[in-house]
């Protein structure tokens, strides 16, 4: 349809995809079946009431008012009026009922969708979060679901009700006078072709809108998270400009949909008026030939409204429906993303032993070059192993593999003799715990943040964990004690304090394998020393893997593994490795040069 002046884009939600989305939608609505049935009846009743109105008007006019056949009958007129009035009141009650019922269904669905989508996101593997931008993920949970909110809260009732009214009107019109009904057919072609065009074109336009919204939100998210860096370098204006671009992109995407619908709706509205004209002209002609009565023509004008108003409204709603469908498609896209690290069928609990076996592990992030090459390492149950090595050598990667954040490309990781791929996730996360370097805190109290280590822990447990690490006094001294709000990312605390909270989490948990990835790097050596010693006591008998750049930390481990360029270059005790005079010895020399301070008293 070139005369619309728009080139029709090819890439839209294909019919197949669209019907899949719909089928899935129905599957998700299945638990609400009973409610849906009731609501359907209520809406049908409401539609019937609405359609009965013109019938009564017709009856009132034809039986009550004077015409060629009789001189009028006030009683018949009054009866029609009374029935109409009663029906109107019934309609009021039904309407009220319908809104609440449909809201329950719709809001219930959105609630379910929020929970399910978020639950699925949380089950996705780390690589998903590393490749998708935070802002986009958040957009799925917020703006996309909000897009459906409008449909649910206002649109759905109108949609279903109008559909019923439409079907009812078609039936009545055909029954009352098929001759006149045929006349209305003239409005079908423009409505049909217009709608087809509209659906095709707007489909893509709305998907585009969802994309632009999430891009815009990611820019925003990043500029908020990085706001301190932005201000530190005085780049506010540059960022504002950058946001302006994505913001305007979003505007233009939206305006594209506006232009499309501004072409479509006049056609629909015009069809309605044309229908009226036809009924009058053609109906007038039919009355003169005695085929229909004047009352019928009058009623037809009303029914035409019933017929055309739903079309009009359905197409108005089509906007909302389209953006909801686009949003839903995006959401299903996430739901269809399979975690790359999955629990297999028949997975079992991890045994309590903390022996770790890394066997010929090769690993690469995505399609990149491998960062670990054929690494093999045995860590005995209860052993304390340090991993050292230059930046980017692969220490953190190795640590993450032991916790099964990723699966190795080649080789296997075993804990307690069991391949991690056969292990049930909950037990794995309970037994193998990683404390990452960035002490990420959630908005909430200090206490809640420590509790992350073991969600079912009591207040006393939390305090005990802090006490064991010698931190209780420090945090209890805060103005509101352990109830102090640490705020987003723990911005209320110093970097060291954040690490202490993370360590307290580890102390609260009850792992068989504890992995500390530079978990004490921001602490002053005095505090670090004290906390580490306490932690050693606590973790006595459990396997501990420490990644550290401070060799003082490393040197106290049972054994030290040196990771060099993605390979395990050396493994042994401190003394052995120093004696060996290779990588570690060099590292150690570099380290101790500056430690040497002869004036120490």
């Amino acid at each position: 349809m070139g005369w619309w002046g728009d080139n029709v884009p090819e890439e839209t939600l294909s019919r197949d995809e669209a019907s899949r989305v719909v089928r899935r939608l129905f599957r998700m609505l299945r638990p609400q079946r009973a409610r849906i049935v009731v609501a359907t009846f209520v809406l049908m009743a409401q539609a019937a009431v609405l359609l009965a109105g013109p019938l009564l008007v017709r009856h009132g006019i034809d039986a009550g008012l004077p015409n060629a056949k009789h001189g009028g009958d006030a009683g018949a007129l009054d009866l029609a009026v009374v029935i109409y009035l009663v029906l109107a009141l019934v309609g009021l009650v039904l309407g009220r009922f319908a809104i609440i019922l449909v809201a329950r269904i719709g809001e219930g669905f959105l609630k379910e969708l929020r929970n399910r989508l978020f639950g699925h996101m949380m089950s996705l593997s780390l690589d998903y979060f590393e490749t998708e931008k935070t802002g986009k993920i958040v957009a799925r949970m917020t703006s996309d679901i909000d897009a459906m909110q409008e449909l649910v809260s206002q649109g759905l009732v109108l949609f279903v009700q109008n559909a019923f009214v439409f079907v009812g009107a078609v039936v009545i019109v055909l029954v009352i006078s098929w001759q006149l009904a045929l006349g209305i057919l003239v409005i079908v072609p423009p409505v049909y072709f217009g709608s087809r065009w509209f659906r095709r074109v707007s489909n893509k336009a709305y998907l585009e809108v969802r994309d632009r919204i999430s891009t815009n939100l990611s820019t925003l998210q990043e500029s908020l998270e990085g706001v301190r860096v932005v201000q530190a370098f005085g780049r506010e204006d540059a960022f504002t400009r950058k946001f302006n671009r994505t913001n305007e992109d979003q505007y233009h995407a939206n305006m594209h949909t506006v232009r499309i619908s501004s072409k479509y709706f006049p056609v629909i509205e015009y069809a309605g008026v044309a229908g009226t004209a036809v009924i009058i002209g053609y109906g007038g002609w039919l009355t003169t030939r005695g085929v229909v009565t004047v009352g019928t023509v009058a009623a037809f004008v009303l029914w035409l409204n019933n017929l055309f108003e739903p079309i009009n409204q359905l197409s108005q709603l089509y906007n909302t429906v389209q953006s909801s469908a686009a949003a839903l498609a995006k959401i299903f896209g996430v739901l269809d993303t399979r975690p790359t690290v999955r629990q297999r069928q028949g997975a079992f609990d991890l045994p309590k032993s903390g022996a770790v076996d890394v066997e010929h592990v090769t690993f690469a992030y995505g399609p990149n070059e491998p960062v670990l090459h054929d690494v093999s390492l045995h860590i005995g149950d209860g052993e304390r192993l340090a991993l050292v090595g230059p930046t980017g050598a692969g220490k953190s990667t190795l640590a993450k593999l032991i916790a099964r954040f990723y699966d190795p490309v080649d080789g296997s990781v075993r804990v307690g003799g069991v391949d991690l791929r056969d292990v049930e996730f909950v037990s794995l996360r309970r037994r193998v715990i990683v404390v990452p370097q960035e002490g990420f805190l959630f908005a909430g109290s200090l206490r809640d943040n420590v509790r992350v280590g073991r969600p079912e822990a009591t207040d006393a447990d939390v305090e005990e964990a802090l006490r064991v690490l010698g931190l209780l006094e420090r945090f209890a001294a805060f103005p509101e004690g352990l109830e102090t709000e640490v705020r987003e990312r723990g911005s209320r605390l110093s970097a060291g304090e954040r690490q202490l909270v993370s360590l307290a989490r580890a102390a609260l948990a009850d792992p068989s394998v504890l992995i500390l990835d530079e978990a004490t790097s921001n602490l002053d050596p005095g505090t670090e020393h004290a906390v580490e010693r306490a932690l050693e006591h606590l973790m006595h008998g459990r396997t501990v893997v420490v990644v550290a750049h401070r060799l003082s930390t490393a040197a106290r481990a049972d054994r030290i593994g040196v990771v060099f360029d993605g390979r395990l270059a050396e493994l042994g005790t401190h003394d052995e490795l120093v004696a060996r005079d290779a990588h570690y010895a060099e590292l150690y020399r570099a380290w101790s040069t500056h430690q040497a301070t002869p004036e120490v008293a």
Binding site: Q221, T391, P455, L551
Partner: protein
């Protein structure tokens, strides 16, 4: 004690205050929307004019239809019927064009206003002080720019549409009144009821709308945080806990939405009832008038058509009334941010930063965050231009705080922070910020190419400058090994790099900015010892000709400095070379205790450790 009476009094007082605040917020919300809409009068005017044309055309259709029935069909004058039919077709075309334009104007205005307000909000957020961002949650702020602004859009959209609808309603009323006052009375008599119930509805809806917006932004907050903190979530396997948090937020959203639905259920059907009652009234009154030969059937039909024309405008008004409170709530929330002035801003008579070597002076500086305890308590510190000083102190002693005061991220409570003699509060903010380059202790990189991250301070910087900065930060080597070298896009937070690699990019970023004063806040904590001496050599070059403040715990890094300053309990407690402090300050030895002890006693040190099995044998 009259405790109880007092609490009661307090309660009412609080309630009143809350109500007042609510009204205040709402009023400001209105103003924000009015101003945003007012900025685009042409769209508004187009919308109203198109609406007017549309309304007139639309109203003419039933007039023509009525005339056709009465004078054409009823009297069997086919010619007239056809003429009038043709007129309907023509008027219909005008109506259709009106519809198109009116939609275009209304939606265009709504999207424009949405885009403008979002821009304004985001630009403002970029300028708000650190203390604001300390309190705020990213996810919630995102909800402001997303969910809340959407609400404003919803209402702006309805305004021109509703104005046109109102015009149409008035036209209908006038026509009906002119033709038959009695019919008009029965058809429209109940409409004023709408006004009354709308006001009541509006009043009840506002607090619900406010709460709903809050719940939605809480959802956004939980999601954003769970995603950024996903390593911790996975590390401790607390997915279930986060799910429970979200689930409780989702429950609240559901509850508030249902509150809203119940209110709507009281109001919306009423809106549909009014025209139906009009139809009933017309049938009764009109019918009897026809029986008494005062009116014709055609009059009834056209009156019916007129009333039908009211259904959609009435719904529109109903939707507007339903939307207004929630939008006012949303706009009020946004306005509350826009009304927050940046606490740190140029003084009215701010002057340029005087030239100088980057001399730093803290004079009796007292500072605490918000209303919290003083973190710095009369801190005095003098750093000569070009000097390199190490700030050392225990965890939470206030080192980072000192680093934050220098570029004026916060203002001191008492005392002065001076750069080259000028109090930073009197200098233009962007000059202060430009003169200080800070490497933050927690590295934040943007999801952009390595080059753009390094050239953050100066996107125009030539490649050589970028490479030089990377070399000085010890980053060049691994950057070249990345799949696309300097053009490699690193993920958000730079998560596709290792911890040490990220830190080096951050150092390169500060080096490229070429500041007078360079602050490295624990910026080498993830850098390994072998590299450290390379970086040391490079940093020595960087430090040439500028003042450097190094916050560090490692002796190797501390050794880069000419002088060490020990901070404790908000003051400088010791000052001198590393060796001297080790010799003279017990507190210094305590803070660095292990490092010192270890060097003395080999590596595996103190006797306490010896009783731990597996260690020391």
């Amino acid at each position: 004690m009259d405790d109880e009476a007092e609490t009661k009094q307090q309660k009412t007082a609080r309630k009143e205050a809350e109500q007042l605040e609510g009204a205040q917020t709402r009023k400001q919300g209105w103003r924000l929307m009015r101003e945003a809409v007012g900025a685009h009068p042409h769209l508004m005017i187009l919308g109203i004019l198109a609406g007017l044309v549309w309304a007139i055309a639309r109203v003419s259709v039933p007039l023509l239809a009525g005339a056709a029935i009465d004078h054409g069909i009823a009297k069997g004058r086919t010619g007239l019927t056809l003429t009038l039919t043709a007129a309907i077709v023509a008027v219909g075309a005008v109506q259709a064009i009106g519809t198109g334009l009116r939609r275009y104007a209304a939606f265009g205005l709504a999207w424009r206003v949405e885009t403008d307000i979002r821009m304004k909000l985001v630009a403002h957020l970029q300028r708000l002080h650190f203390a604001f961002h300390d309190q705020a949650q990213t996810g919630q702020l995102m909800a402001y720019a997303n969910t809340d602004i959407q609400q404003i859009n919803n209402v702006v959209l309805l305004v021109p549409l509703t104005i046109a609808s109102t015009i149409q309603m008035i036209a209908v009323a006038v026509i009906l009144l002119l033709r038959s006052p009695g019919l008009a009375l029965f058809a429209l008599g109940l409409l004023p009821l709408l006004n009354f119930s709308a006001a009541r509805f509006n009043h009840r809806m506002y607090p619900v709308g406010m709460k709903l917006q809050q719940e939605l932004s809480d959802v956004s907050g939980v999601v954003e945080e769970s995603v950024t903190g996903v390593r911790v979530v996975k590390g401790f396997g607390v997915e279930r806990m986060q799910r429970a948090r979200l689930s409780s937020e989702a429950d609240s959203v559901y509850d508030r939405s249902m509150d809203q639905a119940r209110l709507r259920a009281n109001f919306m059907p009423l809106i549909d009832l009014l025209p139906t009652l009009g139809l009933v009234g017309i049938l009764w009154y009109g019918g009897h008038q026809v029986l008494q030969h005062h009116l014709t059937v055609g009059d009834i039909v056209s009156a019916n058509l007129f009333v039908l024309m009211l259904i959609w405008p009435l719904r529109m008004i109903g939707m507007l009334v339903g939307q207004l409170p929630r939008s006012a709530a949303a706009a009020g929330r946004i306005n509350s941010i826009l009304a927050t002035d940046p606490a740190i801003d140029d003084a009215p008579n701010a002057h340029a930063l005087p030239d100088g070597p980057g001399a730093v002076r803290f004079e009796r500086v007292t500072f605490g965050y918000g209303r919290g305890p003083a973190v710095l308590d009369g801190l005095d510190l003098v750093i000569e231009g070009g000097e390199a000083v190490a700030l050392v102190g225990a965890t939470a002693s206030g080192k980072t705080t000192v680093a934050r005061l220098l570029p004026r991220f916060y203002d001191v409570h008492a005392g002065h922070v001076r750069i080259d003699g000028a109090d930073v509060r009197g200098v233009r903010l962007n000059e202060v910020r430009r003169s200080v380059g800070l490497v933050f202790e927690d590295t934040f990189l943007f999801s952009d190419s390595v080059r753009n991250n390094i050239a953050f301070a100066d996107p125009e910087a030539p490649t050589e400058a970028v490479v030089r900065a990377a070399k000085l930060a010890g980053a060049d080597e691994f950057v070249r090994d990345l799949p696309e070298g300097y053009d490699t896009i690193i993920g958000e937070h730079g998560y596709s790099l290792s911890g040490g690699q990220r830190q080096r990019i951050a150092i390169a970023r500060a080096v490229l900015a070429d500041p007078r004063i360079l602050i490295l806040d624990d910026a080498t904590s993830s850098v390994d010892p072998t590299k450290e001496h390379e970086i040391r050599a490079a940093l020595a070059e960087v430090m040439q000709g500028r003042t450097t403040i190094i916050i560090a715990h490692r002796p190797a890094t501390i050794a880069l400095a000419d002088r060490v300053v020990l901070i404790d309990e908000g003051k400088v407690v010791a000052d001198g070379t590393h060796e001297r402090l080790l010799a003279t300050s017990p507190r210094y030895r305590e803070v660095l205790a292990r490092a010192a002890v270890e060097t003395q006693a080999g590596v595996v040190d103190d006797e306490e450790l010896l009783d731990l099995p597996g260690v020391g044998d």
